[in-house]
């Protein structure tokens, strides 16, 4: 049997694929974080909590009114996006002119409150959420058994990432958004409602987090804690990709997912720190991040 780094090539391929799947979640989450930072200059530490809310809203929609996965995929991000809009409109907006640290502290506190609230009601061991029937089961790829749902996650995440990138970089709305962050006064003088654009952006960012959350629900336990560890990892990914670089966040998300997956084979104990080691190295060698513009 062919071997790569001392493990059979089949196992190696399997691990690459697993890394890609996890990278899909990282990419979707870091994308939202990068958009919010890039356009609003807010370090959104509530992102993990909003991801968790997405999963919980999906769970509650199912158990209260029987809304299925596919509908929840649309409804849950909208609901969580609306909460994001409310937060931006009434709280976050007041912090734009202050140091970034205030935004970070506010969203961090918010995350603790949200997670604490859900934990108080639902406990920590999580709620079950079944995989939709059409996506359950799996296919044997020869080198591994791939659950169909995980394959769907990779495809969906690619669509979401590319779609969002196109929205920001190639459409008129995206151009307004980018212009509004470069020079809000000028853009506003052209008659564009800049505060509204920023509200919309935060709403979009949180909706992306929620979408990742509902997609994660059938794989991970729907638990109040599901986002709290993830947000730190995702934040590191955004730093590695280059703060505010949307393409950087997406590519780095997939890359580090794969790297983490491989670490789980070669030195599992380090799998939760490998991303931070990379972050430290990148910050030393290229402080603006892999895809960031030098300031």
């Amino acid at each position: 049997m062919m071997m790569i780094f001392g493990i059979p090539i089949q196992a190696f391929l399997g691990q690459l694929l697993i890394g890609l799947i996890n990278g899909s979640f990282y990419a979707m989450l870091s994308l939202g974080l990068a958009i919010i930072f890039g356009l609003l200059r807010v370090i959104n530490f509530a992102h993990g909590a909003q991801y968790m809310m997405g999963a919980f809203v999906g769970f509650l929609l199912l158990s209260w009114i029987g809304i299925n996965y596919w509908l929840a995929l649309l409804v849950a991000p909208v609901i969580v996006g609306i909460t994001g809009i409310v937060i931006e409109r009434f709280a976050l907006r007041r912090l734009y002119n202050l140091d970034h640290l205030y935004g970070l502290l506010f969203t961090f506190g918010l995350a603790l409150v949200i997670e604490g609230g859900f934990r108080y009601v639902y406990g920590s061991s999580g709620q079950p959420y079944a995989t939709p029937d059409i996506l359950s089961g799996g296919v044997n790829l020869g080198f591994m058994y791939l659950p169909i749902y995980r394959g769907w996650v990779v495809v969906a995440s690619l669509i979401v990432c590319i779609g969002t990138w196109l929205l920001i970089e190639k459409t008129k709305l995206g151009a307004y958004l980018r212009a509004a962050t470069e020079n809000p006064t000028l853009v506003q003088s052209f008659g564009i409602n800049v505060p509204f654009l920023l509200t919309l952006t935060y709403g979009l960012g949180t909706a992306l987090a929620a979408l990742a959350g509902i997609m994660a629900a059938p794989i991970y336990q729907v638990s109040p804690l599901m986002g709290s560890n993830l947000v730190i990892v995702v934040f590191a990914i955004v730093v590695v990709g280059g703060m505010g670089s949307i393409m950087g966040a997406i590519v780095t998300g997939y890359m580090l997912g794969i790297l983490e997956g491989l670490t789980k084979v070669f030195y599992p104990e380090a799998s939760n720190i490998v991303i931070f080691v990379i972050m430290a190295i990148v910050l030393l060698v290229r402080p603006a991040g892999l895809f960031g513009r030098d300031v």
């Binding site: 059979p8 196992a11 399997g14 691990q15 697993i18 890394g19 799947i21 996890n22 604490g116 934990r119 406990g123 920590s124 061991s125 999580g126 709620q127 079950p128 079944a130 995989t131 799996g138 591994m144 058994y145 659950p147 749902y149 995980r150 794989i219 991970y220 336990q221 638990s223 804690l225 599901m226 560890n229 993830l230 997956g261 789980k264 084979v265 599992p268 104990e269 799998s271 939760n272």
Partner: protein
């Protein structure tokens, strides 16, 4: 005036003289601290519900002991030994706490037991699993109540080995508890003619196990032993079913899994799991009555950690009452001598190493269709007798028990 003064002094002196014979309770209050994880991966394990169980025990005892009030305080140690150690010191040094209980997470339990020993205070561990607590690091004032890694190894490991599961691969949480559980289960498997083909250690609170599960799958072992706990185990089981591991013939052994996690995972994903617990609410009228009272307060049925905490608090109060004091040496002596008879344990006895020895149960999670109610999760398959489940105190490695 002078006469009155003399008379009152005499009365006071008489009262003072009479006091020691009647009751000696430090600071005129018996204070019990419940210290555990209330916000992390193990928050369902005992969590705030253990605190609730402790309050129930105090109420059932009557609210006072030796005519002094009983108070229960609680705190969240966040699974961090340093935070737990700070709280324990604060409680013992400044807040007149007499005993600390629960102590979910082995690393925390070991740290707090060390401090309790140094400060000559009683600790009763219900939430942590490592047998080191009653082994090399045992304390004359330390007790281990609900379960330990040895009992889980013998109960769940034994059941699977007897059913042909003779080759094992471990998925192990990367800290003291995981090592202890893996080692003891592995030893038990080997002693019974099986083999351990490999293991992988994952960091605490990992969310994605697919990578580890693929390694376990590739190992070809008949049984994948999950030497982790709480949300970690739940996620691993859920993902194992996703990757078709059980369907392809490998079996999962959730070595530490309680009713709370089964409820979180849901019967659909948990059905067929074998697990070992020291308590199940639906075993007899007494447990059902207790379970119902607990449910009415908390909205959930108790697991062995919560019921165990109830038992530990109750037994501690009985010991204080029996000795007529809350002085550590005397109460610890009584705790070692008194049999444990309550809703949690029948004829439980405490070994010289502090281990409370009682019968545990091997359970199987029912199929969703067989459940008669929301919390009707288990079939009780077998009793694991206390003497088998727990290490013989003389062989535990505890210096206090080896003579």
């Amino acid at each position: 005036m002078k006469k009155i003064a003399i008379a009152s002094i005499a009365i006071m002196a008489a009262a003072a003289a009479a006091l020691p014979a009647q009751a000696e309770v430090s600071d005129d209050i018996v204070k019990i601290g419940i210290l555990n994880d209330q916000s992390g991966v193990y928050a369902d394990f005992g969590g705030t519900w253990s605190y609730e169980a402790a309050l129930m025990a105090v109420e059932d005892f009557g609210g006072t002991v030796l005519d002094k009030p009983i108070e229960v305080v609680t705190a969240d140690h966040q699974n961090k030994p340093d935070i737990a150690a700070n709280i324990a010191r604060q409680w013992y040094d400044q807040d007149q706490v007499d005993t600390i209980m629960e102590l979910t997470t082995s690393s925390v339990a070991l740290a707090v037991q060390g401090i309790s020993k140094e400060k000559k205070k009683i600790d009763i561990v219900t939430g942590a699993a490592t047998t080191t607590l009653t082994g090399e690091q045992c304390s004359p004032y330390g007790f281990h109540w609900a379960y330990d890694t040895h009992a889980l190894a013998v109960g769940t490991g034994g059941a699977l080995v007897n059913n042909g599961g003779d080759s094992w691969f471990f998925l192990t949480a990367d800290y003291a508890f995981g090592y202890s559980l893996e080692e003891q289960t592995g030893n038990f498997v080997k002693e019974n003619g099986g083999s351990v083909v490999g293991s992988v250690r994952h960091p605490l609170s990992t969310t994605d196990y697919s990578s580890f599960l693929l390694q376990a799958q590739a190992s070809g072992a008949k049984v994948i032993g999950l030497a982790n706990a709480g949300l970690d185990t739940a996620n691993a089981i859920k993902q194992a079913s996703e990757f078709g591991i059980v369907q392809s013939g490998q079996r999962l052994a959730a070595l530490l899994f309680t009713l709370a996690e089964v409820h979180g995972l849901g019967a659909e994903a948990a059905q067929g799991l074998s697990l070992t617990e020291g308590f199940y609410w639906d075993r007899n009228d007494e447990t059902r009555e207790f379970g119902k009272r607990f449910f009415d307060r908390t909205g959930r049925m108790p697991n062995m950690i919560q019921a165990g905490t109830y038992s530990a608090v109750l037994q501690y109060l009985k010991a204080v009452e029996k000795t007529g004091t809350d002085e550590t040496e005397a109460v610890a002596k009584a705790l070692h001598e008194m049999p444990v008879n309550d809703v949690f344990a029948k004829n439980g006895k405490v070994g010289a190493n502090g281990r409370m020895i009682y019968d545990m149960y091997l359970m199987e999670v029912k199929k969703p269709g067989d459940m008669a109610g929301d919390w009707d999760y288990y079939n009780v398959l077998d009793t694991v007798p206390g003497d088998k489940a727990f290490i013989d105190p003389a062989k535990s490695g505890c210096p206090l028990a080896s003579n």
